[in-house]
Amino acid sequence: MPDIPLVPVALTASIIAGITSLLYLREFFLRKKNARLQQKISLETRQKSIQILNAAEMAETHVISEGNYATQKLISEFKVQLADLMQNSEKSLDSSQEELVKFLAELQRKSEQFQQASSGAIEKRVNQMFEKLESRLADFLVTTEQKTTSSIELELKAARNLIETYKDQQLKLIDENIIAMMEQTLNIVLAKKLSLKDQLDLVYEALEKAKVEKFVA
């Protein structure tokens, strides 16, 4: 380690110390001066503020008094106008009420007239309907009676025809039976009673008839 001379160092140190002290003092005085200046400005500011506040209070008082006056004036005007309005409204309401009453009375009158007219029309219509119904009912009854009568007559005719047909069929059947019985009887009797000669004579007779009729050519 090299040897450093002690004197220049001490000298330098003392110079630095001196400069630092000077700077400190300068700063100390500057701050003191600033504090005084600030105090003065603050005082002035407070005074001005008080002045402004006083002026504002005065202005406020003035404004309030003017406002109160205007308000009072407005209230009185409003009251007057309101009273007029109320009076007008009452009048208008009264007239409206009267008109409504009149209108209702008129309406009632018209309604009664309409009711009378409509009840008369309805009565007339109902009477017409009843008359028409009676006439149609009478027609219907007559038609039904005629139809029923003709239907019954037709049924009777059909029944009579059926009976006649049945009777004819039965009589025909009886006739057929009579003929069949007679044929059977003849068959039995003639088979016993007719001789071969008689049978042959009848065959010859039949053949001669065929000859006469030219059935066999």
Binding site: D175, E183, N187, Q199, L200, V203, Y204, A210, K211, V216
Partner: protein, 158 residues
């Protein structure tokens, strides 16, 4: 050929008789010519008829023409007029001959009868000629006079 048919039809009046007699001839000639063993049973009437056949008729058949003659007779009979007669009773061959004879007297020779039995006819007969049926029996007469019979019958019911 017509002579052969005329000879057979001379005493043959019905179709069944004709067919039977043709079989008899066939059987006989087959025995004669070919010594066939098949024989046809002959009734006395058939035997009598067979014996009554003239010699010339029998000589008309020989070995060579037998088949031809028989088939020719068969085909001839198909063209012979056949009158169908419906009778109410079952009559004997003799009675059938009498009826056949009467038919030939009335309508001409070579007529053959096809006899059928119908008891519903009661009496008389019905005929069919060329597909047309006509009833000449008592049954038919009763049918024609049905109304009159019924009216007279109903008089007894009242």
């Amino acid at each position: 050929m017509d002579d052969l048919l005329t000879v057979i039809l001379q005493d043959t009046y019905t179709l069944s008789q004709f067919k039977k007699r043709l079989k008899i001839l066939q059987s006989y000639f087959q025995q004669q010519f070919f010594r066939s063993l098949a024989t046809e049973n002959l009734t006395p009437r058939d035997s009598q008829w067979f014996k009554s056949l003239p010699k010339s008729f029998m000589e008309s058949f020989n070995k060579d023409n037998l088949s031809q003659n028989l088939s020719s007779l068969n085909s001839k009979i198909n063209s012979t007029p056949i009158l169908t007669v419906y009778l109410p009773i079952d009559v004997s061959d003799e009675a059938l001959d009498q009826i056949g004879s009467k038919v030939r007297n009335l309508f001409g020779e070579n007529f053959l009868l096809d006899v059928k039995y119908n008891p519903n006819l009661i009496a008389g007969c019905a005929l069919t000629w060329k597909g047309i049926y006509k009833d000449y029996s008592l049954h038919s007469r009763i049918g024609e006079r049905k109304l009159a019979i019924l009216q007279s019958f109903k008089k007894f019911l009242r």
